[in-house]
Amino acid sequence: MERTISFTLNGKPTQVSVDDERMLLWVLRGELGLEGTKFGCGEGLCGSCTVIVDKTAVRSCVTPVKDAAGRQVITIEGLSQSGKLSPLQESFVKHNAFQCGYCTPGMVVNAHALLLQKPHASREEIIKAMDDNLCRCGAQTRILDAIEEVAKGGAR
């Protein structure tokens, strides 16, 4: 059904008039111009498209936009404030936790959500939370190190 959906996107009140069954991924990318959230499979199986809805990581490729109505949505673009990287992003840079970078927005956002819920997540908890996010380049070891360092420091 075509209707106007309102939600908070990266801290800003946002409205879009779209078919409310459309998936959040395509609304973010195609209607709102936020291309940082990536398409990897469209089936909820890779995590490239991960965004945060009310503190929970969701796969935006299988989340209808109507599910975001009235909620707080955070995408990769919302993690760095006025050009300043978040501590988690800084840690990804420091640990070289990426290669091609295509999975990276999904990884960072998924880990951000984890740390929102469990600021001091253990390595085991991190592995469990990240296990459905795929990285073909094999940056996993570095991604774990990057998240763990922030979890140990407690900052995000």
Binding site: R22, M23, L25, W26, R29, G30, E31, G33, L34, E35, G36, T37, K38, F39, G40, C41, G42, E43, L45, C46, S48, T75, I76, E77, L79, S80, L85, Q89, F92, V93, N96, A97, F98, Q99, C100, G101, Y102, C103, T104, P105, V108, I126, I127, K128, M130, D131, D132, N133, L134, C135, R136, C137, G138, A139, Q140, T141, R142, I143, L144
Partner: protein, 712 residues
């Protein structure tokens, strides 16, 4: 890198770009010095007074910044950073002052493509010479300006100082200000490793901030005004012919445009997901594909349909060797088709404006895509510009770019910019897989535990590093068909191609598994057995380095410890790998607990970058070793999604330790692929050591392990 910015689409071609690039020192590199990289047939920059053999270049600008241009592509291997390091080193400027532009066919010199770990190995020396040439020219200019003899001049961070009189100093920027100086590459010397200050370091990657903040733009992220996103109707199986199609429902959908030319049916919409819906609304019927092999019968199929075997290496006489042998050992090793499965599917965005075609393409080889697009549209190559900005992984699977041709064709038909981003199913379906392969090895041991003869026949994988490096008196190595093409039609039911360390990952799996089996037959520790047969110092060096770091204590296999070892070489680099695994005998599940990898790759340009590549390769290698195989029948892919086709996950990743052997005597060699080659055999050997079963087929899935345990 500005090359990712859509707004420069209308920029002039490379030639014009050079003409308008302002003041500065320009170093051109002749195509000849690009040797293996040489462009066949035609060279850019024929007009406007630029000689035809001037191909590559580097610019020292009046603003003090240095621009380096390379036709290479940033696939995640860190080329943007490591190539900049080479320039900064030879030019004696700060790394931060170097801006690299990669993979843009209008702005960059021709390049064969980014694969085979060639970046540093082959292109590196050319770029270093260009930078050294620039430095020599600038020193000459400085000597004139400062009235100081050139020998007295020192350079740091782009500032030239007279060592006898520190007051006499001038910056590179001041030297070139207001002037345009052109130089060709002369026989200048490059630095010795002992003098390196930037090479050999691990600086922050230049692409880091863009990548962690979601700013990095891939080909499917380019949005142009009026752009349509396309989906294309695909057959359910290779070779299935379209019988009938009804697009009427799709045509009625608002904003949808349908293109139907023969078998080519596409739907376009400004929004990707609405194009998806339109595709779903198409009713189509395909004739069944011709019957073909499946993932079980494929091994017989390729042996029957392969070309005649070619001799790769031969020495001694097999019949003599057999006489020396007290025990024989013959095994057949199998490898399945494996997908590249980059996280970014094949993507392209194409605009046609006033006859100029600009294509943003996720490709490893923009200069191969350029003529393909020109041909597809029937236009001269000069009117095609291909930009390979950030590419979301390639691994050998993004050399040809069918998606770019599709987008270009649709852009021409619709008169609008068109984007094609393959679905995951399309990515699996159209991939050029690592070929399925069969390796038969026949061998014998003398009573003294030495290998008497070795006969190695590979079908399907290719001949790269099929030959061994052990001291064996009687040998024959043959190869039939391979990833490079030239296979008889029908041998492979799909496209095959390079997959990280092509041929070599298959050949090394077979060879090193078999060496291990021979060691067990001889009742010897597998490391000692290898050392007994090794003469090559570099191979001995990496093997010892890996086993030392791993803490390998000699024991004959199977020892029950779950330790495995493998060694090999690829593109000039030597590598050895030790693995420790645990095998769950009830479920057949293998957990790799620890991996140590040692590598001798000559001089290391960026140690951290090399380690990343090594860790990445090992992690990626776990998939082809344990789970990844294409399941198919009659040309249809049965497991073309991430639910069925399992890629390595966080929970699989072992502790990975890397040892880089410092080899200052050898120029930098490739490092992006060699770590892959040993993963299969080291894990297979570790499984044997843990569970007493010799796994002869990759991937070593739980089902195959259970079956082997049952048989044992």
């Amino acid at each position: 890198m500005s090359a990712h910015d859509p707004k420069i689409a209308a920029d002039p071609s490379r030639r014009d770009f050079l003409a308008t690039a302002g003041a500065g020192l320009f170093v051109f590199v002749s195509a000849k010095s690009l040797r293996a990289q040489q462009e066949p047939g035609q060279l850019p920059g024929r007009a406007a007074g630029y000689a035809t053999d001037l191909n590559a270049y580097l610019k020292v600008g009046a603003d003090g910044r240095v621009a380096g241009f390379a036709g290479k592509v940033e696939l995640g291997q860190g080329a943007t950073t490591s190539l900049a390091q080479l320039i900064a080193e030879e030019l004696d400027v700060a790394l931060d002052s170097v801006d690299m532009t990669l993979g843009d066919t209008d702005l960059c010199p021709w390049d064969i493509g980014t694969f085979g770990s060639l970046n540093i190995w082959q292109f590196g020396p050319v770029l270093r010479k260009a930078a050294a040439e620039a430095r020599a020219a600038l020193l000459q200019m400085a000597a004139e300006r400062l009235q100081s003899p050139v020998e007295r001049l020192r350079v740091k961070d782009g500032v030239v100082t007279d060592s006898a009189d520190a007051a006499r100093r001038v910056t590179y920027a001041q030297l070139v200000e207001g002037r345009r100086i052109e130089r060709r590459l002369e026989g200048v010397a490059i630095k010795y490793p002992k003098d390196f200050s930037v090479m050999g370091q691990s600086p922050r990657r230049k692409d880091a901030v863009d990548k962690v903040s979601g700013k990095a733009r891939y080909a499917g992220d380019i949005t142009l005004p009026g752009m349509l996103r396309a989906r294309i109707l695909r057959p359910p199986a290779r070779g299935a012919k379209l019988r009938s199609v009804d697009t009427s429902a799709a045509e009625k959908m608002p904003g949808v445009r349908v293109v139907h030319e023969g078998d080519f049916v596409a739907v376009l919409h400004e929004q990707r997901d609405l194009a998806d819906r339109a595709l779903e609304a198409i009713k189509s019927q395909f004739d069944p594909a011709p019957a073909g092999p499946d993932d079980v019968t494929i091994f017989d199929h390729i042996q029957k349909n392969g070309p005649k075997p070619q001799t790769v290496a031969q020495s001694g006489n097999l019949a003599e060797g057999e006489k020396l042998a007290a025990k024989l050992l013959e095994n057949t090793y199998l490898n399945s088709y494996v997908a590249h499965a980059p996280m970014e599917t094949h993507s392209a965005t194409v605009s046609i404006e006033n006859g100029k075609i600009t294509a943003w393409v996720g490709t490893q080889a923009p200069f191969m895509v350029k003529p393909a697009l020109a041909q597809a549209l029937g236009v001269p190559q000069a009117s095609v510009r291909v930009i390979a900005g950030f590419v979301g992984g390639g691994f050998g699977g993004k050399t040809s770019a069918q998606q770019a041709t599709e987008a270009a064709r649709l852009a021409k038909i619709t008169g609008r910019p068109v984007q094609v981003v393959w679905s995951r199913a399309e990515e699996f379906f159209f991939d050029s897989y690592r070929p399925a392969a069969v390796v038969k090895i026949r061998s014998g041991l003398t009573a003294a535990g030495r290998i008497a003869f070795w006969e190695f026949n590979v079908v399907g994988a290719g001949d790269r590093n099929a030959d061994h490096f052990y001291d064996i008196p009687h040998n024959l190595t043959t190869s039939a068909g391979g990833w490079q093409g030239g296979n008889p039609p029908g041998m492979h039911p799909f496209d095959v191609g390079a997959w990280r360390a092509p041929s070599v990952n298959t050949n090394t799996f077979a060879r090193e598994s078999h060496i291990d089996a021979l060691a067990a037959q001889a009742g010897l520790d597998p490391v000692q057995f290898r050392l007994n047969h090794l003469k090559d110092k570099r191979m001995i060096g990496v093997l010892q380095a890996a086993t030392e770091k791993f803490g390998w204590k000699p024991a004959k296999g199977p020892s029950g410890r779950g330790f495995g070892v493998s060694c090999g070489m690829y593109s000039g680099t030597y590598a050895a790998l030790c693995a420790e695994v645990a095998v769950n005998k009830t479920t057949g599940h293998v957990q790799v607990k620890r991996v140590v990898i040692a590598q001798d790759q000559g001089v290391t340009v960026n140690p951290e970058g090399s380690r990343l590549q090594m860790e990445g390769c090992v992690t990626m290698g776990l998939g082809q070793a344990l789970t990844e195989e294409l399941r198919f029948a009659n040309g249809a892919v049965r497991n073309g999604d991430f639910g069925e086709y399992q890629l390595p996950r966080f929970s699989w990743v072992p502790k990975i330790e890397t040892v880089l052997i410092d080899n200052a005597e050898l120029a930098p060699q490739g490092c992006g692929e060699p770590p892959m080659i040993n993963v299969g055999a080291a894990i297979a050997n570790a499984i044997f050591d843990a569970a007493r079963v010799r796994m002869l087929q990759l991937p070593m899935t739980p089902a195959r392990i259970l079956a082997a345990l049952k048989k044992a």
